[in-house]
């Protein structure tokens, strides 16, 4: 499903060049549940952003189902994200001025999906927060907010779900519950890539990839 060949990413800031990725080769098969682990600054989020089409590599080739994504311009990347990618972020990235229902509905609106209400309520049901549909993100606990974010990703119905430290802002028990949610999503046939620095979380993934200093550690 995903093939990365010698992916490099440099950030240039005030003549200082930071090599975030220094030649990553990676293969992720369809339907897998992959955990990417690494210390802070190892380049794992950069890797996830490139996989998700949120950022572009400086060098290297990124194939998604044999399509060369690394050559895409911003417009094509937007279409790619819309069709294939859902994100879950550490800080939940919910829009606080929208209700839980409206947050989950948002990806459906942009995709012009019919029968939105049923889909949204199904996703909220699956995440166990259907009774909070009318509440606003600020009225929810961290765990509930993350469930809402996962429900939003689920509603988009994309083949690939990317999660950047989804348990990072949660306590251990809540974090474990959230991983259960990802497991459920994975079981429904989605490919899940999850970034974490927590070994307990990583241990629950099918495959683990370790990244260190911008390189995959075998």
């Amino acid at each position: 499903m995903i093939r990365l060949e010698d992916i490099k990413k440099d950030y240039v800031n005030n003549k200082n060049c930071t090599h975030a990725l220094r030649g990553v080769d990676l293969h992720i098969r369809e339907g897998s549940f992959t955990g990417i682990i690494g210390t802070s600054g190892s380049g794992k989020s950069t890797l996830l952003n490139i996989i998700g089409g949120m950022d572009t590599p400086t060098e290297g080739k990124y194939y998604f189902y044999d399509e060369l994504i690394s050559d895409y311009n911003s417009e094509k990347l937007q279409k790619f994200r819309k069709k294939n990618i859902s994100f879950v972020f550490q800080n939940f990235a919910l829009m606080n001025r929208y209700s839980v229902y409206e947050n989950v509905e948002m990806p459906l609106l942009i995709r012009k999906v019919k029968n939105k209400k049923k889909i949204v309520m199904d996703c909220l049901e699956q995440m166990g927060i259907a009774d909070m549909a009318k509440k606003y993100p600020t009225q929810l606990s961290g765990g509930q907010q993350q469930r809402c974010a996962i429900a939003r990703a689920l509603a988009a119905d994309t083949p690939l779900l990317l999660a950047d430290e989804p348990t990072g802002a949660l306590d251990q028990k809540t974090g474990a519950d959230i991983i259960d949610c990802f497991k459920a999503v994975h079981k429904s046939g989605k490919t899940v890539i999850l970034i974490t620095h927590d070994m307990n979380v990583a241990a629950r993934c099918e495959e683990i990839i370790k990244i260190e200093d911008g390189l995959i550690q075998l």
Binding site: S45, M54, Q78, F87, F89, A93, I110
Partner: protein, 418 residues
């Protein structure tokens, strides 16, 4: 609908900033309307006369014939007038004045309470504008019916029966052409024949214009709806003569010929062109407008920059939201449309706030406007200009937004970099 909804949500999430922008836009529109209004008023006296005068504002002037030795000059003046009238450089040279006449109760009844402007009644007497036949083509006279001024035939009559033609305003349309009114006095009688009815909306140049133009008056044309114009060629002497230059000559050339002819008959002639009168009288207004223009030149770009700056600040606060939207599948186009809708709503709100003020200006200051077109200046002229400028603001702010969105990747928008 989605973009509209997002735009409205975006507005409410930054309501204070939105409100400040709306107020700035409203104040800008009002300032703009007032400035345009000042310009339109300033130019109106010139434009309205320029349109009405057959040879235009810049080819018309007034000659003042000195009358220190009245009787001698009167003869010499008449000779000068007759001679100068025949010169090719001169299109028209004649006089016009207002007199009080009483010759028809029928006309008086039609005029009724509608005695306005210079055509006022005094008891049972009319104010009639008497125009020398040789200055008839000073203005463009348009008739709805009757005999054109150039086809009038004058016979030199003297003694008891003196014949004059009258042209009536459109209010007297029911009076048949050829109707005669007789005004009798001690030992004389005048016969007035209705020669034509003026077109509705016909105006005539005000006799006051020959004396001065002042900076407060904005119009020197008079409404002829209830006007009565008496035309004759009696060559009575007047020391104010209207002059307009022929097609191929300038007013200076026409005046030069007049001065030569005046010399020939020993008449002292002073003159002024309408352009001189206008420039002298309007200097004060021109200066005020020039200051206004300078202030405006500073204010408009400053307001534009302020609006754009506010948009940028507003965007910087919203970058994270835009990043989240991008992660959900929204594109730059979607976000740009949302920003554009937000800007349009902002501009419309500004207009909604400014509109009552503009209507108030129109009703309070323009209700006595001499011409309907001038009364509508705030809405018909100034407002469209304001709308065009607003469109430019919307366009610029949207472009700035798009440039910013294009410049950053979704990750940068979200401020996430690892």
């Amino acid at each position: 609908m989605l973009h509209l909804r997002l735009a409205i949500d975006n507005i409410f999430s930054q309501f204070k900033r939105f409100l400040i922008s709306v107020i700035i836009i409203a104040v800008s529109i009002i300032t703009l309307v007032c400035t345009v209004l000042a310009y339109e008023l300033q130019g109106y006296a010139y434009d309205s006369c320029d349109e009405l005068l057959a040879q235009g504002f810049e080819k018309t002037g007034v000659l003042y014939v000195d009358d220190e030795t009245e009787h001698e000059i009167e003869d010499a003046g008449t000779c000068f007038w007759e001679d100068a009238s025949t010169r090719k450089e001169i299109a028209s040279l004649g006089c016009m004045s207002t007199y009080l006449f009483r010759f028809s109760d029928e006309l008086l009844n039609i005029q009724g309470e509608n005695d306005e402007g210079i055509f006022i009644t005094n008891g049972d007497e009319f104010t009639v504008m008497t125009i020398d036949a040789r200055s008839l083509n000073l203005c463009n006279m348009e008739l709805s019916k009757g005999i054109e001024p150039e086809e009038l035939e004058f016979s030199r009559e003297s003694g008891e029966n003196i014949h004059r033609y009258i042209y009536l305003g459109s209010a007297y349309e029911s009076i048949p052409i050829g109707t005669e009114y007789i005004m009798e006095g001690a030992g004389y009688s005048f016969v007035y024949t209705v020669a034509g009815i003026l077109e509705e909306g016909q105006r005539w140049v005000s006799p006051n214009l020959s004396i001065e133009m002042n900076s407060t008056s904005i119009d020197y044309t008079i409404d002829c709806t209830y006007g009565i114009f008496c035309v004759d060629n009696l060559q009575y002497f007047t020391n104010e003569l209207w002059i307009s230059a022929s097609d191929e000559y300038s007013i200076d050339e026409a005046v030069e010929v007049c001065l030569e002819v005046a010399d020939k008959y020993g008449v002292t002639v002073r003159y002024t062109t309408l352009t001189e009168l206008y420039e002298t009288s309007c200097m004060e207004n021109v200066q005020i407008l020039s200051y206004l223009a300078e202030v405006f030149v500073i204010i408009v770009p400053a307001v534009l920059l302020m609006l754009i700056a506010m948009q940028i600040v507003s965007m910087l606060f919203e970058l994270n939201t835009y990043g989240i939207m991008c992660s959900m599948g929204f594109g730059t186009k979607d976000i740009s449309i949302m920003i554009m809708i937000k800007n349009i709503i902002m501009a419309l709100m500004g207009l909604v706030i400014a509109a009552p003020v503009i209507v108030w200006i129109e009703k309070s200051f323009m209700k006595e406007a001499p011409a309907p077109i001038l009364a509508e200046v705030p809405c018909l002229v100034a407002l469209p200009i304001a709308v065009v400028i607003l469109l430019v603001v919307i366009f610029l702010t949207t472009i700035v937004s798009i440039i910013m969105l294009k410049r950053y990747t979704p990750v940068e928008l979200m401020g996430k970099r690892n």
